[in-house]
Symmetry: C2
Subunit: 329 residues, 2 copies
């Protein structure tokens, strides 16, 4: 795995996006979202996604110029037709409009359809918090998760991110409603290691520890019936507000050829800001349970990873790096 | 356990509330929330709560007359000082105002402080959905849940309910972010049965299967680190928006003597309503996995229980029923 500096990764990513016809300002937003995921240790949402995105542009299912058509359905409800734009480009422009509206309204919602994969939700949550606003961010994905008690993938991995200003470091949590990301199952497959028995079902809907079989099956919702209820609620809420496709009808988040029909929802809240840092410090200072080194606040490990990775450079898989180099040349 | 008709339970609950000085309209709201929980099979949020509530009124920490003072901080952000009112009374009045505002704004938020326990969140979610609106409902509680990797209770059970109109039966999910309710640990203690090893820690922060020890310890977050992240996010978001106390500072949701300083947040969304019933029907029709009878949609079991319980009457624990009878006399 080559270690590349962040600067080097930026230049190569920008060059690859430019070659695909992405204007510099749009490329900077798209590349920043991917690199922030790399910096925080979430390679599944990092540069790995760039070659596929560029293929999507070449195939006409991602438009490098589009920034989204905005329509205020009412004072605080923004409907965005993403016009097949790059997910982060469309999302950041929607967030700017909705965040501004939240200042006067107290709360505003952006419902985005017809836009490409937006990457790590925490990126957007941290952005909102940096402006002093709280946010609930949702996005849907292709069906990879089975209903609790079911056998087949019928629900997206449907992550949620929540950001809250604390009076100190931002609080940002970001988690899929699947027990693991499909990327981790692929990791195990690549390393030839079995997966835990409660992660996934095979194609016939039976539990499996074989990651190769799990790749063609369904991931479990996290936390059993509760995580299923949450993931399903997000699928329904996002589809209802954005017109996004549902379940097995969702396309374009994993492939290179289909128009992306998932949805994204951001609820931005401009409210009173409490002082939360003392409480978070108290949790951090708790004596850890047996088997734990420390009690960690969500988002902290990613920020720590960001600091060290900025110094040491990124570790990018050879295959991914070589493909991006090729696409930039 | 006596079986009592819903009508009988209404009359006795109303009489007990009237004796405590609760006006008939406020009593009807409070009693309805408790009885709907009984009907749906959630006894922990049912009549069990009534004697303590009446004690709270007698002790001056719940005001039977208050309905909450409303202040619109901005067009779509309603701050409610609950004035120590009955939780459901204050919440339903706040919902009416915020739901009405959501019609013109697209989204509106009610942030409630200084109000008593609001009971089952699903009640409010179903109410919003019946008006054609989607809702995200949050409320905090006394610290009963340990941080992931921690030893002591530092976080509330912090439930979330999400309601979405579907074009058919309402979709309403409602779940605590703890792996179980403290009520189920008490149930096991009452029956002298051990609890599963991953439910709770004892007072020293060690895993225990003894429900008596767990009662003085901490419940696990559901789904490990992910459920912890969600529960913590809700604690922070609700406190930030309502000024509610945090963690071990929260009082008045389990006792009879302290002013209640948790918070409630409702985000009501009046957006486009998609047709979701076909997707839900498809999930319902899935072949169940081994060990499951059927794939169930969240909220359905409660509605089925409601239908049969309306016919057969409620099963109320003797101790609870006798106390309410006494309080009504």
């Amino acid at each position: 795995m080559p270690r590349v500096s962040v600067h080097q990764a930026q230049e190569v990513a920008d060059a690859a996006l430019a070659r695909a016809g992405v204007p510099a300002d749009n490329a900077a937003v798209q590349r920043d979202v991917l690199l922030e995921a790399e910096l925080r240790g979430f390679a599944s949402h990092g540069l790995l996604r760039l070659p596929r995105l560029i293929e999507r542009i070449r195939n006409g299912v991602a438009d490098p110029l589009a920034t989204g058509a905005h329509q205020w359905r009412s004072h605080a409800f923004l409907s965005v037709d993403g016009e097949r734009g790059l997910g982060p480009v469309v999302a950041m422009r929607a967030l700017a409009a909705a965040g501004d509206r939240a200042k006067s309204q107290g709360v505003a919602l952006a419902a985005i359809s017809n836009s490409n994969h937006i990457g790590m939700l925490a990126y957007y949550a941290e952005h909102c918090v940096s402006l002093g606003q709280s946010v609930i961010a949702l996005t849907t994905s292709e069906a990879l998760v089975h209903p609790w008690g079911g056998r087949r993938a019928m629900i997206g991995t449907n992550p949620i991110a929540i950001g809250v200003p604390t009076g100190g470091e931002p609080f940002v949590m970001d988690t899929a409603t699947s027990v693991v990301a499909m990327g981790r199952i692929h990791d195990h497959a690549n390393r030839g290691e079995p997966i835990p028995p409660d992660w996934a079902l095979d194609e016939e809907g039976n539990p499996t520890t074989d990651p190769e079989r799990a790749k063609h099956g369904a991931i479990a919702p996290f936390g059993g019936a509760k995580g299923f209820a949450l993931g399903l609620a997000f699928e329904l809420l996002v589809s209802s507000l954005t017109g996004a496709a549902l379940g097995t009808g969702v396309r374009g988040t994993l492939d290179s050829t289909e128009v992306c029909n998932k949805g994204d929802v951001f609820i931005i809240i401009d409210g009173p800001a409490g002082r939360l840092v003392d409480y978070l410090d108290a949790i951090r200072a708790e004596q850890p349970a047996a088997g734990f080194e420390a009690v960690r606040i969500p988002g902290e490990r990613g920020r720590a990873s960001r600091r060290t990775t900025l110094e040491r450079g990124l570790s990018v898989a050879d295959e991914v790096w070589n493909r991006i180099i090729d696409m930039a040349a």
